[in-house]
């Protein structure tokens, strides 16, 4: 494992080349790098469902997309995940900030935090919940699973996991 690489650099190294999403504090360090470095060409989306649309369009144009979002935005993105990304078998990587995972976050995160994994499982989307040690291997496994299943795949990240 190469622990010297930041997570954003790992994403590039894994082959991803199109980045869009909506910010969350869970991945603020990663997003700062993605936003500020021109090689990422980050496209800020106005909402999470629009981010899925952008990512699918980019995939149709030959790119390998990543969508970053908070889990509250995942709820907003469920329809395009089902009726667009899964329907057209688009492999895209969702990086979902898992707010409210332990019930100790702000009240608005409690219900969606408790149901985040269930929502993804209900849509039959492969998901990984990395910790700091398994982050790199989970990312690589997620990228392989996406390709094999030709489906969106989620990396659900608790606060503090992404470096």
């Amino acid at each position: 494992l190469n622990h010297s690489l930041s997570f954003s650099a790992l994403l590039r190294e894994t082959g991803f080349d199109f980045f869009t999403g909506v910010p969350d504090s869970t991945f603020k360090v990663t997003l700062r790098e993605i936003e500020t470095r021109p090689e990422f060409n980050y496209i800020p989306a106005v909402s999470e469902n629009v981010a899925i649309g952008l990512a699918v369009g980019a995939y149709l144009g030959g790119r390998r997309p990543v969508v970053l979002m908070q889990n509250s935005g995942l709820a907003l993105a469920l329809n395009p995940l089902a009726s667009l990304a899964a329907l057209y078998r688009v492999p895209l990587l969702l990086i979902v900030g898992w707010r409210g995972h332990d019930g100790k976050d702000s009240p608005e995160h409690s219900l969606i935090g408790a149901s985040t994994l269930t929502l993804l499982e209900t849509l039959d989307l492969p998901l990984y919940v990395p910790d700091a040690e398994s982050l790199e291997s989970d990312l690589r496994q997620a990228a392989r699973t996406m390709q094999e299943r030709r489906a969106p795949c989620a990396l659900v990240c608790r606060p503090g996991v992404l470096r």
Binding site: G15, N49, V50, G53, L54, G57, A58, G61, S83, L84
Partner: protein
């Protein structure tokens, strides 16, 4: 007054190698009926996202021109995207910018809807967007099957 299907047929008759994204519902059906081609993408669900799919496609293929057939409801569901499309078109050297042209106005009166809901449908508008982030050149062409069967990415 031009019917939506006629407008779509007319535009498809003019285009050459442009990538086309058609919004859900009748717009996709009429696009398919008028000229089914490998460069067309028919958005079956995900209402509101034709504009963002078109933008993502244009960002990935900046030398290609992308045409989006969108509906008025779709437009309203993703107004935020439109502000961004405008910004992007200004920021880059997009030649013919973002063309947004309503080809037909909604004239489906309550009366015609009452008489026959299905015949009222073709009078709803189509919004036509055409954008490219660089001046399109004739040298870049996709294989005809490109949009339907994208090359599987290698990670």
């Amino acid at each position: 007054m031009m019917r939506r299907g006629e407008a779509i047929t007319m535009i498809l008759g003019q285009i050459r190698d442009e990538l086309v994204v058609a919004a859900n519902g009748w717009i996709s059906r009429e696009t398919c009926a008028a000229h089914d081609r490998a460069e067309n993408f028919y958005m079956l669900g995900s209402m509101g996202l034709a504009s963002s799919i078109g933008l993502g496609l244009a960002l990935a293929q900046p030398e290609r021109r992308v045409v989006v057939f969108d509906g008025d409801g779709n437009l309203l569901m993703a107004l935020g995207t439109w502000r961004w499309l405008r910004n992007e078109a200004r920021r880059t050297f997009f030649t013919s910018y973002l063309i947004m042209k309503s080809m037909a106005r909604r004239v489906a009166s309550a009366r015609s809807l009452r008489k026959s809901p299905s015949t009222a449908l073709p009078w709803q508008p189509v919004i036509v967007m055409c954008f490219a982030l660089r001046k399109p050149t004739n040298s870049t062409r996709l294989s005809p099957t490109y949009l339907r069967k994208p090359a599987p990415p290698s990670y």
